[in-house]
């Protein structure tokens, strides 16, 4: 085990896959000699050279379109979109082209590509550089959607995404880039579509994703001192969705809370709530409660952003109130 930051784990995951497979190419803005604006790709340009680690113009449609054309003709590209907010400028490529072409051609093309992007708030960047957009991607048939919460998962799930034969949107949470954690030595490959139970408790199940996972864990510790024992599940992958693990934990405790960074409407937690209501109704002992950002763009000021996003305190207070 080595201790790596989340950003170092990303670079290590890309390097592992580029060294393994010469068909893996990596493109994006400022990713080469500059090492990425979040320094999540440091060292790749020096190691793999300017052909395989290639800087692009500020042309998000060209970046994603090029990745698609390359993936359908034999490469396994990784494309970076600097901030997930910029996905809006190339959403046609993602939602209309990449997601649908295999289906529309009844399987004539495969699109083994990964789109990495820095997602989420907590950095005081304001409403156009802070969104949590996993649910946009989750709503489009044909895209796999992954969002790791720690360095080991960042490396292992990224490697799995590169090896996956289908398109994967890989959301890296900006506020986690500096977080350190142990990452297994040597080759590390995880499994897409597998949630992880991080903490076992008998009273309620808290389901969280990405940056909300450490918050849910802290909240569970505080709740334990109040006598509420919470299970915490890290969803990790929204598509495919590990409903077996998630709903299995809901059934055990009889209570479900979701913690979502996204604005309220149509967040991923709504889908999980709907599945639980459909399939675990008889096992539920109380209402399903979603803890989200209010339905607003994220404001910039630190006090406003902190108050808008789900906090440890809000999670604790919400669970406590609902469990009374």
């Amino acid at each position: 085990m080595a201790e790596l930051s989340y950003r170092e784990a990303i670079a290590a995951g890309i390097a592992q896959e580029m060294a393994r497979d010469p068909m893996v190419y990596f493109i994006g803005e400022d990713i080469g000699a500059a090492g990425g604006v979040f320094k999540a790709t440091v060292g790749l340009f020096e190691r793999f050279g300017p052909d395989r680690v290639r800087d692009t113009p500020i042309s998000e449609q060209a970046i994603i379109g090029a990745a698609m054309g390359a993936a359908m003709t034999g490469l396994r590209p990784i494309a970076e979109i600097m901030f997930s907010d910029f996905l809006a400028t190339c959403w046609d490529m993602i939602a209309n082209q990449i997601a649908k072409t295999r289906y529309m051609t009844d399987g004539q093309v495969a699109l083994p590509l990964v789109i990495r992007t820095a997602n989420g708030g907590g950095t005081r960047f304001g409403a156009q550089h802070s969104q949590s957009l996993e649910n946009w991607a989750m709503a489009v048939p044909g895209l796999k959607v992954v969002a790791p919460s720690n360095p080991a998962d960042a490396k292992g799930l990224l490697a799995a995404a590169v090896r996956d034969p289908d398109p994967v949107l890989f959301f890296e949470q900006k506020s986690l880039y500096g977080v350190k954690g142990n990452v297994p030595d040597g080759e590390h490959v995880d499994t897409l579509g597998s949630a992880k139970v991080l903490r076992d408790g008998k009273d309620c199940t808290i389901v969280a994703l990405a940056a909300m996972v450490p918050k849910a864990m802290q909240a569970a510790e505080q709740l334990a001192s109040d006598g509420i024992q919470a299970t915490v599940v890290d969803v990790r992958s929204l598509v495919p969705l590990d409903t077996r693990t998630i709903l299995g934990e809901v059934v055990k405790t009889g209570r479900l809370f979701t913690v979502e960074e996204n604005p309220r409407l149509c967040g991923w937690g709504a889908e999980i709530a709907s599945l639980a209501a459909d399939e675990c109704f008889d096992d539920l002992d109380g209402p399903i409660v979603r803890i989200t950002t209010p339905h607003v763009p994220l404001p910039a000021a630190d006090v406003l952003e902190d108050a808008a996003m789900p906090s440890v305190e809000r999670i604790v207070a919400t669970v406590r109130k609902s469990m009374r």
Binding site: A62, G65, A66, N96, T105, G107, Q108
Partner: protein
């Protein structure tokens, strides 16, 4: 018109016959598609390329078997020009299970990867960056393949056009962008909404490319420019942008009677019908009426056989709905 007449040597006789044959086949196919629509057998929309056959034929004949074609919703001709099955194409238009995409794509998305027809794209401009990506892949794989990307005049005003051209030039990609300027978007004349007279050719210099404007209704001219631009791309010389002037004989899509076009303009362009023009040229070159008639009869037979094949297909199968989202053939999103 700044038609840059390519320095053609005599196009070989066999090539000329092949160009004529392909144009006639594409014409007969589109006409049959229209007749089947009138019979209410083609249910969805369709965008015919009647009148624009010389462009697809010129490039189709010049391309290598493993080159890539990317085209638009007006793409029956480009897909067929690569050798895709006419019967499977008509069946797809008719929503049949024996359709090229088993009913899941329809007229606007004809694709036949086996023949290098990498897809028909229905969001204006989207396939230009995708074609650049296929060219990038060919470049790094050193395969010698070239990507050819066809689109309309209206497409030159969307961002993806400019993003793709810039990237293709900066990366020196083996891609040829072919703008089929048929003077109209859906209903609006291109000149009414475009800053320059020639929507593609006048933009070429912005990307350091040669300005190429050609007669898109002349199959010899199209074949020649195809050979030049594909040859340049294959030799590592980078991308080209070609503007081919042409005209669609019918409306934008099947619902459009095209009454917004001045009568004199329609008459002038019908007189320049690429098939009529080329037939005359073949006769002048000493190719006999019998040989030409034979090509025409065989094209009719081919389209008739394709029609029978398509009509004979069962409706698309409902169990296709939840297939082929993912590479394992499934549409599963949960366990």
């Amino acid at each position: 018109m700044r038609i840059k007449a390519p320095a053609t040597g005599e196009v070989e006789r066999a090539t000329r016959l092949r160009l004529y044959q392909l144009m006639v086949e594409l014409r007969d196919f589109e006409q049959r598609a229209y007749e089947l629509f009138l019979e209410n057998l083609v249910r969805g929309t369709s965008h015919l390329a009647l009148g624009q056959e010389a462009i697809g034929a010129g490039y189709g004949v010049a391309m290598r078997a493993d080159d890539y074609t990317f085209c638009t919703y007006r793409g029956h001709n480009h897909t067929l020009a690569r050798g895709a099955s006419m019967g499977a194409a008509l069946a797809e238009l008719m929503g049949r299970g024996n359709g090229m995409l088993h009913g899941k794509g329809g007229s606007m998305h004809l694709t036949d990867v086996k023949h290098g027809a990498m897809g028909s794209y229905a969001i204006v401009g989207a396939h230009l960056p995708i074609a650049a990506g296929a060219a990038w892949s060919a470049q790094v794989r050193k395969s010698g393949q070239v990507a050819v990307c066809f689109f309309g005049d209206g497409t030159t005003n969307i961002g993806a056009f400019h993003e793709a051209l810039n990237l293709a030039v900066v990366w020196k990609l083996p891609v040829v962008f072919v703008c089929e300027n048929n003077l109209y978007m859906e209903y609006t004349p291109i000149e009414a909404v475009t800053a320059v007279k020639h929507p593609a050719a006048d933009r070429a210099s912005a990307y350091g490319l040669e300005s190429i404007l050609v007669d898109g209704n002349d199959a010899d001219v199209m074949y020649d420019i195809a050979r030049q631009t594909i040859g340049k791309a294959r030799a590592g010389g980078g991308p080209s942008l070609v503007e081919a002037l042409t005209y669609r004989h019918g409306g934008h899509s099947r619902a459009d009677p095209a009454q917004y076009r001045p009568e004199a303009e329609v008459r002038e362009w019908l007189a320049r019908d690429p098939i009529k023009v080329y037939r005359r040229r073949l006769l002048e070159a000493g190719i006999g009426e019998a040989e030409i008639g034979d090509i025409e009869a065989r094209a009719q037979q081919k389209v008739d056989a394709a029609t029978e094949e398509a009509r004979g297909g069962a409706p698309a199968r409902v169990d296709e709905i939840e297939r082929q989202i993912w590479s394992d053939g499934s549409a599963t999103w949960r366990n």
